[in-house]
Amino acid sequence: MNPRDIPPEAFHASGAEVQAIDFGYVRSPDQDRAMPAQHPIVVIGAGPVGLSLAIDLAQRGQRVVVLDNDHKLSIGSRAICFAKRTLEIWDRLGVGQRMVDKGVSWNLGKVFLKEEQLYEFNLLPEEGHERPAFINLQQYYAEAYLVERALQLPGIDIRWHNKVTAVAARDNGALLSVETPDGAYQIDAQWLVACDGSRSPTRQMLGLESKGRIFQDRFLIADVKLQGDADFPTERWFWFDPPFHPHQSVLLHRQPDNVWRIDFQLGWDADPEEEKKPENIIPRVQALLGAEAQFELDWASVYTFACLRMDQFVHGRVIFAGDSAHGVSPFGARGANSGVQDAENLAWKLDWVLQGRASPALVATYGPEREYAADENLCNSTRATDFITPKSEVSRLFRDAALHLAREHAFARRIVNSGRLSVPATLHASPLNTPDTDAFAGTQVPGAVLLDAPLTKQGQPTWLLRELGPDFTLLVFGPAPAWARDLPGVTVLQIGIDVIDHQALAAQRLDALPRTVYLVRPDQHVCARWRTPTEAAVRSALARAAAA
């Protein structure tokens, strides 16, 4: 079936039905051209990263071709934890509420050692945020809602069954050879973004490498659908050395449709083929859930992983995003979440360059910004992995010491690392930041993602992030100076006039005083702030943030 003819209700169906959606092959007029068709942006890969990027660009008025070698959504639950920041980005893309409505929201985690609960933690202990710390949602649902959104936008042309077989990069773009069910054709892309996953055929075709560390451990994922009421609450539970799976760790998450994701650490010696067999999986699950639990196995997989990244994400006009650029361990939900942040970082920059509002130097800054973020994710993910799988006797000794102390002592709970869960990177060293010249307290330094806060607008509740403009926003506490209206492409938002900070949380989180000004980028990162800026200072910060 032509994907554009798929009825909307197909994307609202059950998990099995959504996974069964088959996106039909449609011959593109490009295939009948004598010369390769030219396109401003080609994205390879219709996963969460490629789709988020395409939607962002299309919402900005760009035309995007998305090539995917497959014709189905993700099979199996895969990336299930979508972080607050990802939801905020998806809000901007028009799909955040869909994800939250279907997903299982959670903020609470519990950590167990053997049969005993050591402690619990709340990832979002404060009120006044629109989005929860995390939702759990099977990747196929997330992809379904993104595809549905993409199909609503005339600027996006998703071509399923289109496999890129060769990439010839040049100074002003890339020539792609594409294979389809009825023959091959070529596309001339001005910009090419590879969102084609950890194995990234694009990366391989260009002879580029991803480097890092392999972890000698194996994990079993089991998605099980429980019959009847489950005793487990909507929380992230992590066990070190539980009685039902001795000497290893286990992680439990709830997903929509009463499906539970269980990750069993198996150790390096485990035989993946044996462990994948349902007759070996079911007893493990039964031991965790209890003898009475009735369940069926939905999906299972045995995996190993490496933490790695490419040296550079930008290679002229070819750009890598998501897993193709960097791979992390699953602990911390940093894979898909960091990929969606890559997409958001890149979208406005590509748009500005294609619109002629900035030079290609702006797109080049995607590289160092997201390489920095990838390093932060890799660092956190590696540390979590080393904590969960100690590599030496002494690291196990200290790991166990921390766990032992965590029962009684708050300080040790902070050392216990069962995955530092995804938070957006603060781009401290970004060349797009204007360093502070005034004194501020708190976390909202240049490079940080703007924190959300509840506001009212004409008496109706709203949220700070929802009120930001599509391009830059000048956030002014109090009346904006007269010159602010003349700044090109800048939305001026006056706190206390356009919107009311009725709980004073925006002012508190941004350490704002009357006349304090924040300059916020299109991807909602702070790039400059002042107590009382001059027009020249703001214009200079704007130019810097556009890599002028």
Partner: protein, 85 residues
């Protein structure tokens, strides 16, 4: 910086207490206690530079930095997923 000047007010008392604290423990239990002690004292000190200095003095040589990205190029190992039969 780490204070390595005499600072223990009752050093003999502390030393005796330290040894006494290990009494009756097996060697693995003693190691475990020492590890907990290190973490407790480290938290008390709190300052990363001071702790780093202490690690270096205790080791008697330069403390290696965490080695995250120095391994040579490798073939990526990616999650291999398979649907359960």
């Amino acid at each position: 910086m780490l204070n390595t000047q005499p600072n223990l007010l009752a050093c003999d008392d502390f030393y005796e207490a330290l040894i006494a604290a290990h009494q009756g423990l097996s060697t693995p239990e003693s190691h475990a206690m020492n590890a907990r002690l290190v973490l407790l004292l480290a938290n008390h000190i709190g300052d990363q530079a001071t702790l780093q200095h202490a690690l270096q003095l205790a080791r008697g040589s330069v403390v290696p930095t965490a080695d995250r990205r120095t391994t040579p190029a490798i073939t990526p190992v990616v999650p291999t997923h398979a649907v359960a039969a």
